[in-house]
């Protein structure tokens, strides 16, 4: 993968993560290498959590597809989960997410762009699988790279399309994708190319509630990825640092580029 391609992978991956609570790898996409590209990926996720009102764990399978053309990209994903909450075993889908990205500026070492992510409330909010509202999550990202190192940052505003009531506080929600109904979402990351197609990433992401009730959230993560032909694979371990998004979460991703 060339440098610009790697920049796009890191940038879009991190912003997708930060914008929707940190584990969607639907952006493992090296669109910069080809004018047009189609990607399909599957994420496997497992986590334990302990929140204000629920204790348990969940596992999920998250298929995703993406398509890109020049500086523009589109993608969609959905999760299928099994969740244990306070002794109750439930299965179901999560919220459908779609996103569009645009690279707005590209130079030798710098790339910047914008992303719009929207989620539809297909997951059942009563079981912690869905937000219960459509979420709109516009954001901006920037990437700087030199040699083996790529540094990324992003920030955006996430807002539920719903009337929020003061005092109606469930904490961050849903359990499988924790975030506030209105928040500043952010992410920073550092990617180091290790050679032989391998790269290591550390990143952090979080949310700062805006207006009414809410809870700050910060997660930290370490990731090891490798590329073999048209297949990207990565393993990642995440932990909740601030708030109670989850105790620990593991993620395995595989993406195929056509």
């Amino acid at each position: 993968m060339n440098m610009v391609g790697r920049i796009v992978v890191v940038a879009v991956g991190l912003i997708a993560s930060a914008a929707h609570a940190d584990h969607h790898g639907m952006a493992m996409n090296d669109s910069a290498e080809e004018p047009r590209a189609f990607d399909a990926s599957v994420d496997l996720v497992a986590a334990s959590y302990s929140t204000l009102t629920y204790v348990g764990d969940y596992e999920g399978v998250l298929p995703a597809v993406g398509w890109s053309h020049d500086d523009y990209g589109f993608g969609a994903s959905i999760g299928l989960y099994r969740i244990m909450l306070n002794g109750l075993d439930q299965h179901g889908i999560g919220d459908v997410m779609v996103h569009a990205t645009a690279r707005l500026y590209t130079a030798e070492h710098v790339t910047a762009g914008a992303m719009m992510m929207v989620s539809a409330p297909t997951g059942d909010e009563r079981f912690g699988l869905g937000m219960g509202h459509t979420m709109v999550m516009p954001s901006l990202f920037g990437v700087w790279s030199t040699g083996r190192l790529t540094v990324s940052a992003n920030a955006g505003f996430s807002r539920a399309i719903a009337q929020m009531e003061a005092g109606h506080d469930h904490g961050v929600w849903p359990l499988v994708e924790p975030m506030n109904m209105s928040e500043i979402s952010w992410g920073v990351g550092c990617d180091l190319a290790l050679g032989r197609g391998m790269h290591g990433v550390v990143h952090a992401a979080g949310g700062i509630p805006v207006g009414l009730v809410g809870h700050e959230r910060v997660i930290g993560a370490a990731r090891l990825g490798w590329t073999s032909g048209r297949v990207d694979t990565a393993v990642e371990v995440q932990t909740g640092l601030v708030g109670d998004p989850f105790t620990i979460r593991g993620l395995v991703e595989t993406a195929l580029h056509f």
């Binding site: 204000l52 009102t53 629920y54 204790v55 909450l85 306070n86 002794g87 109750l88 439930q90 459908v96 779609v98 929207v118 539809a120 409330p121 297909t122 997951g123 059942d124 909010e125 009563r126 079981f127 869905g130 219960g132 459509t134 109606h168």
Partner: protein
């Protein structure tokens, strides 16, 4: 996408029930914890929503949603109204049973081994009315030794 959204379960909806002034009367009896709330909660709710149950025995009931005392009910009156109450704006049937495929435990903390008892429409309407009024009434839980004054 929005077709998919429509396929998900009904969302918790406030019933819009308000407490008349003076307190409403059903028949000749004003709804209270002693003559209505206690019996309703212990008949339909406390096998999962009880303060003495460990997390793993709650069959999905959220922590701090314990209805074995009036204080516990008044901690989350909106949630009760939105999940179980009937009123002018919504008829909520999610609880009991909606979250557990209509199966409930026959004993506190037990497994989901029987069909859930189903409150009648009148009981659900009375629940919403009682909640709407009870939350406005003065309570002195400190004197009762179970919480802070309200």
């Amino acid at each position: 996408m929005f077709v998919l959204a429509a396929c998900s379960g009904a969302s918790p909806t406030p019933t819009g029930t308000t407490c008349a002034d003076p307190d409403p009367v059903t028949g000749t009896t004003t709804l209270t914890w002693d003559n209505f709330g206690h019996d309703f909660m212990f008949k339909y709710c406390t096998n999962c929503h009880a303060s003495d149950l460990p997390n793993s025995k709650r069959n999905g009931a959220p922590i701090y949603h314990d209805f074995d005392t009036l204080l516990g009910v008044l901690e989350v009156p909106d949630h009760i109204d939105e999940q179980t109450g009937w009123g002018p704006k919504a008829q909520n049937d999610f609880m009991p049973g909606g979250g557990t495929n209509n199966r409930c435990p026959s004993m506190p903390g037990g497994s989901l081994n029987e069909d859930c008892p189903e409150p009648t429409g009148v009981e659900r309407t009375n629940l919403a009315q009682w909640i709407a009024c009870e939350r406005l009434r003065p309570h002195d839980f400190v004197d009762a030794g179970v919480g802070s004054a309200n």
